[in-house]
Amino acid sequence: MSKKINIWVLIAGAVVGIAAVALTALGNPANMGFCIACFLRDIAGATKLHSAAVVQYIRPEIIGLVLGSTIIALATGEFKPRAGSSPAVRFILGAIVMIGALVFLGCPLRMVIRMGGGDLNAFVGLVGFAIGILIGIFFLKRGFSLKRSYTATKVEGFALPFVMVALLALVLIVPTIFVFSESGPGSKHAPVLAALVIALIVGALAQKSRLCMVSGMRDAIMFRDFNLLSGFAAIFVVVLLGNIILGNFSGFSAYLQPIAHASQLWNLLGMVLVGWGSVLLGGCPLRQLILAGEGNGDSAVTVFGMVVGAAVAHNFKLAGSAASLTDGVYSAGGIATSGKIAVVIAAVVLLVISFMNIAKKERN
């Protein structure tokens, strides 16, 4: 069934792709022009919520995405403070999505960017992501709901945008209160102003187009609606072309990909958590930032949950370790036993949340 594709989705997808390639060329880690999970994790590190020395940096991209959304939403009358849709459950779901993403080493957006970089491990992640989305849809079709939200005060609506402005002000005025990685992915970053401006543009476009990695696949499966999936596809194609043009592409391989591991079961299961949790939340981590930017307090709580999830992931060694080649010895990387246990526990929690939120026939 053919459907009208919103041109904004294609534009946003293409711009995200170009921005991702550009940010990497400007200094961001490889295949990490954007990664909402990684960047929130870096912010958690910089603010000393965890002490993994290689992933600590105040990523201006996160600030830009949120504020870009806020600015365009205010300009177009779409800024609407609202909250009250199961905030505590959303906080937990945010944390679980983050743990799953850090097991895989990337949010759904980075998964697509990694795919465009030729990383076959990300295609395994995609399979897991799709499985997770299917599980989420199974519950949606049976009446899963986090219940309605309500109109909230302006203060609630501006919660995350305010935190972002404060973070930006602090990092510019008193950067010494934060910690910054001296090596590893956290030390690699595009210039602050470039990252901020690019992210402001992407944030505005993402708000305008409703770009969302999880909704694309969800809508295609549930409603045969391919609108948002076209954005997902556009990112992949543009990143792939960008990498080829810049000479960063050396074919598709699962071997020694940047900031990725080849422990495929856990690549798969990590993304199952992300897909499933994101469907329950109604959007991927990028979408949560954008929604929080346009005044959604529930999404702001989800983002706070993701930050805490990142801290938990690193404090308790749940996150994946990247593949490496040291003195000629190849390690496929992967996750520690604690991470494996966490994935299982997280899946059980998702199952409980999914069942317990299946609505009765009547709605208040």
Binding site: S149, M222, F223, D225, D298
Partner: protein, 67 residues
């Protein structure tokens, strides 16, 4: 009548889909309170052969679907 005010996507579309599957009504009123839900319901309704009119009042949208 589908009251999907306050619900985030895709719930409004799921509720409309359920109504359509249940009885394939010739007309259906849908209440939502976010532009993104208006767009999503509109797209789904169009795919099912409905034409849609939308009226806004105080940030809430009343959608009339008809065949």
């Amino acid at each position: 009548m589908v009251d999907a005010r306050g619900l985030s996507c895709p719930m409004p579309v799921v509720m409309v889909q359920n109504e359509v599957k249940k009885g394939n009504p010739n007309s259906l009123t849908v209440l939502v309170d976010a532009m993104v839900c208006v767009e999503n319901v509109k797209r789904y309704a169009a795919s099912q052969g409905y034409s849609v009119t939308v009226t806004e009042e105080d940030g809430e949208y009343k959608m009339e679907l008809s065949k």
